[in-house]
Amino acid sequence: MSDDFSDAAAELSRLTQADCAVILIGSAARGRRTENSDIDILFVTTERVSTIPVISGYHFKFSTEADFSRRLNAGEDFEAWCLRYGVTLLDRGAWERLKASSADVWPRWEIKVVHGIRRLFLASQLSKMGDALAAREELVYVLGHIARGLLLKNGTFPLSRPELAAQVREIGYPQLADLHERLRTADSLSETDIAVGLRYSKKLLVHLDRTTYRNIALDQAKVTRRKDDKRAQMRAARNGHAWDPIK
């Protein structure tokens, strides 16, 4: 596919006869894409399509117009971001309608805390397993959620991922800015870097919303216990299996 994204827009629009829109989003829409960035494209239609193509280097995010509108009005920042900064590649009317109906919705920073906490537990789990690469990647998502939460709470609309560090530095979080940049771009990181990242993420999430953190952590503890029980059952059922049980 060429870099003007018109091929992607044409391919997606062929998936439906319905009213639809193809919108370039993410760092590419902001002109901040690096060679490691995906090209993120939002595909909005009035009805569901059967399959979304899978193409290396592209991430197609599908949404029905109704779902998009519902999530926007619930305070999700992703949809608000797309409306603000998305670049229209093709619009049969759906995008104009969404823009006209919901121009002034300000996302709820509290939602970013919930997303950040859930992702933090996943990052911690991967780190405990010893998968530093995966933990690092999940941690970048966590710090992104935190940065966006802090910015929204401060009345600043978050830009694309490569621009977040400068934005959070400006509102007084230089360590978060440095950490996010290092995790995103450093060639290699130590286990200590990951451990510090996990710890600082927890601190910031508690700082943003202590009650939500505590409630989700309590739920998570129950889930972990349930998972441990399931794991024990699986290992028992695997007796005689080709694998040795994992110690």
């Binding site: 569901r48 992703f78 995966a134 999940e138 998502y141 998972k227 694998w243």
Partner: protein, 144 residues
């Protein structure tokens, strides 16, 4: 020149098994689709890396390059299963989750199938690594 490293291959394989376990738990009721696809995605990548290490092939920490490597290992008959498309699909599902919205594709995904396919691929890679380990041990004994 890249030298095969069976120790690293085993380490990645063991990581993948732990991630398979987590994905399998997430697939049981009450389902955690986000946790399941994320763990499954990293497990597939670790399995491809395990084969690359076992066969002395270079790999890079890029999702698309790992998917490409999976296709190459399949076309060279070093893998029976081509998991390149699965890696790309799971990567997309996982990214949908990162936006805070699992999306209909994930809501429709059959987690049992995802975990079942992953288990079969784990077994395939286990067999490759175990065979090479066995051969390595036998060569070591002959040298002694």
């Amino acid at each position: 020149m890249v030298i095969m490293d069976l120790g690293e291959a085993r380490r990645h394989l063991d990581l993948a098994k732990k991630q398979w376990e987590s994905a399998a738990c997430d697939a049981w009721a009450p389902e955690d689709a986000a946790g399941c696809v994320t763990n499954a995605f990293y497990a597939y990548e670790n399995l491809v890396v395990a084969v690359a290490e076992a066969r002395g092939r270079e790999w890079e920490p890029s999702h698309y390059k790992k998917a490409k490597l999976a296709a190459a290992l399949f076309s060279e008959k070093l893998l029976i299963t081509d998991v390149s498309e699965t890696i790309l699909t799971l990567n997309n599902l996982r990214k949908d989750v990162s936006y805070g919205d699992p999306g209909f594709e994930l809501a429709d995904a059959n987690l049992g199938d995802i975990v079942g396919d992953l288990e079969a691929f784990c077994n395939e890679v286990e067999s490759i690594v175990a065979t090479l380990e066995q051969e390595g041990e036998e060569e070591g004994e002959e040298d002694e």
